[in-house]
């Protein structure tokens, strides 16, 4: 909980009580986490290649893209420090990705259904 309060303080610019020693980098992610994250990413890479060797029909792309999303999320949260960032950063990242998914989802929904009922 204390960490949460610290982040809130950094996140809102209008609050006056900054402790300069604290501000520069409010959370240093330890190498241990980087090692675990790096190894996890390599394992997931192996998994997705392994999965591509089996023919599971429509599940091949679904599985591959699901694993890619998991890997990307891990990179964003840990390598890119979003898990330890201010609410502003979290909201920015989420808002951006959400907007992108809406744009892509609606475009694909349009193109994929244009020929429906025409054959």
């Amino acid at each position: 909980m204390t960490t949460h309060q610290e982040h809130d303080k950094v996140g809102s610019g209008h609050q006056q009580e900054f402790h300069d020693a604290h501000d520069t980098h409010d959370h240093i992610v330890s190498p241990r986490i980087y090692i675990i994250v790096g190894a996890t990413l390599l394992v997931f890479t192996g998994l997705t290649v392994l999965a591509s060797l089996f023919d599971v029909g429509v599940w091949n792309p679904v599985l591959a893209l699901f694993i890619a999303c998991v890997k990307a999320t891990i990179v964003v949260l840990f390598f890119m420090h979003v898990k330890y960032s201010s609410r502003l950063t979290k909201l920015t990242v989420f808002g951006g990705v959400f907007t992108f998914l809406v744009l892509m989802g609606m475009t694909l929904a349009d193109y994929f259904t244009r020929a429906w009922g025409r054959w």
Binding site: T24, Y34, F100
Partner: protein
């Protein structure tokens, strides 16, 4: 009131209220605010990059849906081994970059230079492997343009190595011609990604040069940190390019 007393008493004025490190810009209230503002800006830039690559991803999915058989045989031309190797190289480079940021934060100059150099080398290895793959495409006339050849797709058995692995059936000429769309998107996507790598590697060279002079190990890590965000972003783009181009059409 206090000012006039100070003058009257001849005591030196109190230390300025906004004592701050030299790298803090004057228009920021505090270092925290400056760090927040720069990382916010960096993320906004990365969001525009997501939209840019997102357009390419969307185009790829739409055309794959339209010309599915062409995209399947097109992707059979890619080497799973090189693709996997490059993914591993890029993940390792992201790891060394993250460690570089940690070294900067904990003021380890030697460690920072080492990590940045490793990231630089891994970036070059990635581009080297990419060059090998692109060269093969050029040799087989799979680069879209006047010299494009549909030979491998109208007569798969002539392409012995790929045929051994996938046993693709010949495509009618009109569908075979659409493999050019696959390779157009392949070169556009991997090319734009490689361009981002080239830009990243150039900035890395600058970072290494500055880090050796001790620029980022005295408390001001913003540049290294935000470059790290850029490098990880380029990694994420590859994390999606790899399955889309190499993996999802293997059994099509």
């Amino acid at each position: 009131m206090s000012d006039s007393t100070a003058i009257a008493n001849g005591t030196p004025p109190a230390a300025p209220e906004h004592a701050h490190p030299p790298y803090q810009r004057h228009h920021f209230e505090s270092m925290g605010q400056q760090v927040d503002a720069t990382s916010f800006a960096m993320w906004l830039f990365l969001l525009t990059e997501i939209m840019f690559f997102g357009g390419l991803f969307t185009a790829y999915l739409i055309y794959r849906n339209w010309y599915y058989p062409a995209f399947v045989v097109g992707s059979h031309q890619l080497s799973l081994v090189w693709g996997t190797a490059n993914t591993a190289v890029l993940i390792l480079s992201s790891f060394t970059m993250a460690m570089g940021v940690w070294c900067a934060e904990t003021r380890r100059k030697g460690g920072l230079v080492l990590c940045l150099t490793l990231t630089f080398i891994l970036g070059l290895i990635f581009l080297g492997i990419k060059t090998i793959e692109w060269t093969e495409k050029a040799e087989k006339h799979h680069v879209p343009g006047f010299h494009y050849s549909v030979q491998s797709f109208v007569d798969p058995q002539s392409d012995t190595e790929v045929y051994k692995e996938y046993k693709d059936k010949p495509l009618p000429l009109d569908m075979a011609r659409h493999t050019e769309v696959y390779f157009s998107l392949y070169f556009a996507m991997t090319g734009m990604h490689a361009l981002h790598m080239v830009i990243g590697i150039s900035i890395l060279a600058f970072l290494i040069w500055r880090a050796r002079a001790g620029a980022y190990t005295t408390g001001h890590v913003t540049f290294v940190e935000n470059f790290g965000l850029y490098w990880h972003f380029v990694d994420i783009i590859w994390i999606f390019l790899f399955p889309l181009l190499y993996l999802i059409s293997r059994h099509g």
